[in-house]
């Protein structure tokens, strides 16, 4: 069975539990978001799924390889982009890549053209002979991505892949992620950049030591409703009025716009009545979905509670 299957996964370091009770699966061709605040256990989870750490409980299968018993085969099948690029500064880009080709026992005649194609794509062509120590942060990140892909992995774990990249490079990386998924690879994306997650991922898991939510992105956003309202003048003056409502909705505002988070659709008339009662001249009120950021923050708050 390909993709990733995780069942009751837990990891303890002595008396401390990093994560527990994780159950999810990721399909081939899917870009899956693994979200959570710092220290939530994302890195530990990824390390278990890449054969770097042994699970304390549960089972995980990655591209048909058990994370418990088939670490070496598993590491052959996966590519891991770590949070830090982790390049050898004194070696050239070519030497860095060749080293990982050798570790994966690849035929360089096949692997090097693939690496070159990625280097070209990420704007690093012509810099193969330069020492990595002379690269900018963004170039190092891009080279680390090429290193992650050089052995043609079936499952790819990306930790903050666009960190430190300029907007153009970030777009190139996002396009590459979409293409890799379209080729049938399984991709797990760990990122605090929720806009990027919204663009790339079909499903997300939000964890904080345990699984807080696991759902398709659209479903997660639909889990709460919102109302986009345009009023005359500064919308901020209506915040105290809205806060006094019995269901005390979360409200974001900018200029004459308000985004009011609702528990359900029935709260919308009460919000509008309240605003009109407070003297607001309402231009429009459009139902919408809550932004992922709002859903994420609420789930994390609930998880902490």
């Amino acid at each position: 069975m390909s993709g990733i299957q995780v069942q009751g996964l837990a990891k303890r370091f002595g008396a401390r539990t990093a994560v527990e009770g994780l159950t999810f699966d990721v399909r081939p061709g899917e870009v899956f978001g693994l979200l959570g605040p710092n220290g939530a256990g994302k890195t530990t989870t990824v390390r278990m799924l890449t054969g770097l750490l042994q699970p304390s409980e549960g089972e995980a299968t990655v591209w048909g390889c058990s994370a418990r018993t088939q670490g070496e085969q598993l590491r052959r099948a996966v590519g891991l982009l770590t949070e830090q690029p982790g390049l050898y500064d004194r070696l050239s880009a070519r030497e860095n890549l060749r080293f990982f080709m050798k570790l994966h026992e690849l035929d360089e005649a096949v692997a090097w053209p693939r690496a070159q194609a990625y280097l070209e794509r990420f704007g690093l062509a012509g810099r193969e002979s330069d020492a990595c120590g002379s690269f900018s942060k963004g170039m190092r990140q891009k080279l680390a991505i090429v290193r992650t892909l050089v052995h043609d992995p079936k499952v790819i774990f990306l930790d903050e892949p666009t960190s430190g990249l300029d907007p153009e490079s970030a777009r190139t990386v996002r396009d590459a992620v979409e293409e890799l998924a379209a080729e049938g690879r399984t991709i797990v994306l760990c990122s605090h950049n929720l806009a990027e997650v919204e663009r790339l991922c079909s499903r997300v898991a939000i964890i904080q030591g345990r699984l807080l939510a696991l759902a398709p992105l659209g479903e997660l956003r639909r889990a709460g409703h919102a109302l986009d309202i345009r009023v005359d003048g500064d919308a901020g003056r209506f915040l105290p009025t809205l806060a006094a409502l019995p269901f005390a909705p979360n409200v974001m505002h900018e200029g004459g716009r308000l985004k009011v988070m609702l528990g359900d659709d029935t709260q919308a008339p009460e919000v509008l009545a309240c605003l009109v009662g407070a003297g607001a001249r309402v231009h429009s009120a459009v139902p919408s979905h809550r932004p992922l950021e709002e859903v994420y923050l609420e789930l994390i708050r609930q998880g902490r509670a």
Binding site: L53, E72, G86, Y88, R90, F99
Partner: protein, 266 residues
């Protein structure tokens, strides 16, 4: 998990390449042999240049009260210097791998290259083998090169007195061919072990370097006349170090365990 020599060689190749480009480390590695070659050559030259100095006989009699009247004190002292200095020379094959291995193991943690490396299929045994080779090969090569230069230097300065080659003698040849690699393995094993437990290459170097102190102490004992060095003495040292090497090898493979390294340093 099968041991794949190609992967161990890849680690060796990478570390060796990195070493070649590390000018600071290369200079440190070159400074040590220079001292170990020049100091004894200078001492031998001092004895050979003034063989009739009556103080030499006094010095020689400190080591051998029954030195025959007809014996040449300068030749005796040169022979004694060469025998005792061999113990000091062994510091070099211990120390050079400490310089290299501390950089290559603790350096992976410092540079945050450890996690991508451990996420590859390489095993702990392959990692130990590759990193050890990358430190042993230069250490033994430097020791052998330094030995060759040492032989030439000693023979040049001693020739006018002894009218023939003094070096290489049996003790030094045995020592350089057999003991130097064993001692190099020892230095490497200690450095790998300590590097696996500390976070910085510099700390690893400083702690690992402490293992040369017993060696220096033994040489001090020889110079003070408390210990008499010879073939048997150095062979015994070699046997002890061989045993330590085996213990260190097993411990290194255990300590370079992926889970242990990642959970502590990843």
């Amino acid at each position: 998990m099968a041991f794949r020599p190609q992967r161990a060689l890849a680690v060796f190749w990478k570390d060796f390449l990195d070493l070649r480009k590390n000018v600071g480390l290369l200079l440190s590695m070159a400074a040590l042999p220079l001292v170990f070659i020049l100091v004894p050559i200078g001492v031998v030259w001092t004895y050979a240049a003034r063989p009739d100095d009556p103080n030499l006989r006094v010095m020689a009699q400190y080591y051998d009260r029954e030195l025959p009247l007809g014996a040449n004190a300068a030749v005796f002292l040169i022979d004694r210097t060469l025998t005792d200095w061999f113990g000091m020379f062994l510091v070099m094959p211990v120390f050079v791998p400490i310089l290299i291995s501390s950089q290559s193991v603790a350096g992976e943690k410092e540079r945050r290259t450890l996690e991508p490396l451990l996420a590859s299929p390489v095993t702990a045994a392959e990692l130990v083998a590759g990193k050890s080779l990358a430190s042993l090969v230069p250490a033994v090569a430097i020791s052998w090169l330094a030995f060759a230069l040492f032989c030439v230097g000693v023979d040049i300065v001693a020739w006018p007195l002894v009218k023939g080659p003094l070096m290489p003698n049996t003790l030094w040849t045995f020592g350089i061919l057999v003991l130097a690699p064993l001692f190099a393995f020892f230095g490497n094993g200690v450095a790998v072990l300590i590097s696996a437990r500390v976070s910085e290459a510099r700390t690893a170097q400083q702690l690992s370097a402490l293992v040369v102190l017993p060696l220096v102490g033994l040489v001090g004992g020889q110079v003070a006349g408390w210990l008499t060095a010879g073939m048997g003495y150095y062979a015994l040292q070699g046997a002890v170090v061989l045993l330590l090497d085996m213990v260190l090898l097993v411990a290194s493979i255990r300590l370079l365990d992926r889970e242990r390294l990642i959970s502590r340093w990843g």
